[in-house]
């Protein structure tokens, strides 16, 4: 099914449908992650792939036009040969790989046993993914948050902060009149019903990430998707009244700083950077509050980045 969807995307010149299939593809793959026991990943993919990235691409398409030209035959032939060759090489390479689900594969014998066996003692949260993400690989995650922040700065520089003054004024393309969605009763009622629970759910995901699947990344995207839904139904302007883009632009930095400050406090208290055990007298409490704080930082950064990017992209299309 996944393969069929992808081939449909390859064929389609009509980009609107390609993007819709892209969202469907993301949803399918999140189902696959679910069956492969990666609940956190499935969660993220469903929120990000099927939600945020589809909307971003749609917003960009509203600006650049929605059909791609027919390909010239010589542009399809050469890539096909290259792709087949690379694919064949890769398939040959898989013959050496450990079989799917094999418990003695090299992946499972390096650091994973320590994470699985000792994270309950050393870090605390029952959700091992959270302990690895926030504690064992805290540097990594800090870097990732930094990348998200940097990408946000890039979008901001390229497109402006989503304020009406920045950028070129442009008449809305036909059929993409976002404002008109307000008139559709069903959409409006459903959105009214959904937005508040989605916001609350994002907070639950944020604070409950230690125990179940969830955490800052997912919560941030879910929070942002509630705001984006509001902006889609009621128009950008009311949404920007609630969250003025100029002020919102500070929040990614605040989130990242919160993360860094937790690390620095741990250093001042005599531990290493991001060594939460040093935060409090009891290392377990320290780990717990440290993880909560940095997850909050991640959540703020991600949510603010997503909303800001959406504002920037959609302001351009108005």
């Amino acid at each position: 099914m996944l393969v069929a969807t992808v081939f449909a995307i390859v064929k389609l010149d009509h980009l609107m449908s390609a993007v819709m299939l892209m969202g469907f593809f993301s949803l399918l793959s999140s189902g696959i992650f679910m069956t492969l026991d990666a609940v956190d990943v499935a969660f993220t993919e469903a929120a990000v792939g099927a939600g945020a990235s589809t909307i971003f691409i749609l917003a960009a398409l509203a600006i650049v036009g929605r059909t791609s030209k027919k390909k010239r035959p010589e542009k399809t032939f050469a890539p096909l040969i290259i792709v087949t060759c690379i694919g064949a090489i890769l398939v040959y390479a898989t013959l050496d790989m450990p079989y799917f689900g094999a418990p003695d594969a090299p992946v499972h014998t390096h650091v994973a046993p320590r994470y699985l066996l000792e994270s309950g003692e050393e870090v605390g949260p029952p959700n091992i993914v959270t302990s690895v993400l926030a504690s064992y690989r805290g540097y990594d995650t800090f870097g990732e948050a930094g990348v998200v922040f940097t990408a946000f700065i890039g979008v901001l520089l390229l497109l402006g902060a989503g304020t009406r003054k920045s950028g070129i004024e442009r008449s809305a393309p036909p059929n993409v009149n976002v404002e008109s969605m307000r008139q559709t009763v069903v959409l409006r009622e459903v959105a009214d019903l959904l937005i508040a629970p989605v916001l609350i759910f994002s907070l639950y995901v944020q604070w409950h990430g230690d125990f179940g699947p969830g955490g800052g990344f997912q919560a941030g995207v879910i929070f942002a998707s509630a705001i984006i839904l509001y902006a889609l139904i009621y128009g950008i302007v009311p949404a920007q009244k609630v969250l003025p883009p100029r002020k919102l632009a500070y929040f990614p930095a605040i989130g990242l700083l919160l993360y860094a400050i937790v690390g620095v406090i741990a250093m001042l208290k005599g531990g290493n950077f991001l060594d939460y055990g040093a935060l409090m007298a009891d290392p377990h409490d320290g780990q717990h509050y440290g993880i909560l704080a940095i997850e909050l930082g991640i959540g703020i950064t991600v949510a603010a980045v997503m909303i800001n990017i959406f504002f920037s992209l959609s302001e351009r299309s108005l």
Binding site: D37, V41, A60, S68, L80, F100, S119, V147, F217, R316
Partner: protein, 140 residues
């Protein structure tokens, strides 16, 4: 063997489809869609590697002993969010390209670039010629 490696082969098919889109399509946004497919296939590859037969989601609870490997999950979780941020950056760039060129089709952009370069080189030879004349005048 068929069941053991089936996941990886599906991943390879998806990956190659994404690569094919990137190479064959001239439309910048469609290229980004292709990159996204490529990316997602890599995610599926990592998660497949992390799976352990008979395991469960890596959340500690009494009564469960076999878990999937949490490390790929962490890597992919952050990669997804970083992926959407970089996708947005790519889209922002293509929007700017559209504003500068009026198109996001690769060949049209190259054609316009070539036109511009012709015009620029012809202009610059004129100014260079003028400059050398100036130098000659000063020397004389």
């Amino acid at each position: 063997m068929l069941t053991g490696l089936f996941n990886y082969w599906i991943v390879i098919i998806l990956m190659m489809a994404g690569l094919y889109i990137v190479m064959s399509s001239g439309h910048l946004v469609k290229k980004i869609i292709g990159l996204n497919i490529f990316q997602t296939s890599v995610f599926i590859f990592f998660i497949s590697m992390g799976n352990v037969a008979g395991g469960t989601a890596p959340i500690l609870k009494d009564g469960f002993n076999v878990f999937s490997n949490p490390l790929p999950h962490v890597l992919i979780l952050t990669a997804i969010v970083v992926g959407v941020a970089t996708t947005a950056l790519g889209l922002a760039i293509s929007v700017r390209v559209y504003e500068a060129y009026g198109t996001v089709e690769e060949d049209e952009i190259t054609a316009k670039d070539r036109d511009n370069r012709h015009r620029e080189t012809s202009v610059s030879t004129v100014t260079q010629g003028a400059a050398t004349e100036d130098v000659q005048e000063i020397q004389s």
